[in-house]
């Protein structure tokens, strides 16, 4: 057998070179396309989109001025957030600038207090504490729910802000959240972040957020 001339394609260098070249080249082109595609998908919507009822995966910060529901979408096979009628947030309607500043404060606070050390946000973080991706829609914060009764507050956002400032006092889980010395303003920012995050179309993540199967089958939201 001639060493320079392989008698099988499987032992020929050029076959593997051409195959590797093809797979690598194709993957590079595909990943470039996917990168640009993802950029358009994750770009935040504008305040005008919200006013016009245009659905974006990531709505603008001013989404905090609207009710957010969670409905089963049978065609997509999972629940998705539904942006509803305007509502006050901490007793007022926030302008674009104010909402962006508040959301930014919330993000900075979330990073500085290292929420992801225990919680999960949009798939990132830990599962020691509850998943916060759709925390705003959790029925325990609703009117007449346990958290509003315990904190003596009248709205969801106030109850959440009160809990964030005094987590030890209002603890309901065995795994207690420590007091992270979150200020009133920072708590507002965090609640804004949680509300905006719950309005993001995450393709149904986290799965099975609805608590009981009956609700899930009926397609009703567990949020209100």
């Amino acid at each position: 057998m001639d060493e320079q001339q392989p008698n099988s394609v499987w032992t020929s260098n050029s076959f593997w070179k051409r195959s590797a070249g093809w797979v690598t080249g194709f993957a590079v082109v595909l990943l470039m396309f996917l990168t640009f595609d993802t950029m358009t998908q994750i770009t935040m919507g504008t305040d005008q989109d919200l006013k016009d009822g245009i659905t974006k995966r990531v709505p603008a910060a001013t989404v905090i001025n609207y009710q957010i529901g969670y409905k089963m979408d049978y065609s997509r096979g999972h629940e998705m957030p539904v942006i509803g009628k305007p509502e006050l947030f901490f007793g007022k309607t926030w302008s674009v600038k104010e909402a962006n500043q508040l959301l930014n404060l919330g993000k900075l606070t979330e990073q500085s207090k290292d929420c992801m050390n225990c919680h999960t946000l949009l798939g990132n973080g830990a599962y020691y504490a509850p998943d916060l991706t759709k925390a705003w829609l959790d029925p325990m914060w609703k009117k007449g729910g346990v958290m509003q009764l315990m904190t003596h507050t009248k709205t969801k956002e106030e109850a959440m802000a009160a809990f964030l400032q005094y987590p030890v006092k209002y603890a309901i889980h065995v795994r207690k959240m420590p007091n992270l010395k979150i200020t009133a303003k920072e708590a507002q920012g965090l609640v804004a972040l949680l509300k905006q995050m719950s309005s993001i179309d995450t393709n149904g993540f986290p799965r099975g957020f609805s608590r009981n199967v009956q609700d899930f089958k009926q397609g009703v939201s567990n949020a209100h």
Binding site: Q5, P6, N7, S8, V9, S12, S14, F15, R18, S19, W22, V23, F26, F33, L34, D37, Q41, T55, R57, D73, S75, R76, D201
Partner: protein
């Protein structure tokens, strides 16, 4: 069903169609990657015979 009506948020997008189900994506990837490799194989075989 292999091909169903697209229900994603952006149906004008080729990736939304490819992402409709695991089989759709698998078949597409095999079309784009494995089929050209089969062609490369037979092309190399032809060269070796020469």
């Amino acid at each position: 069903m292999l091909f169903e009506q697209c229900t994603d948020t952006s149906c004008g997008n080729i990736f939304a169609w490819l992402n409709q189900g695991p089989l759709t994506l698998t078949i597409a990837m095999h079309l784009f990657i494995i089929l050209p490799m089969i062609w490369i194989y037979y092309d190399e075989k032809k060269k070796l015979k020469k």
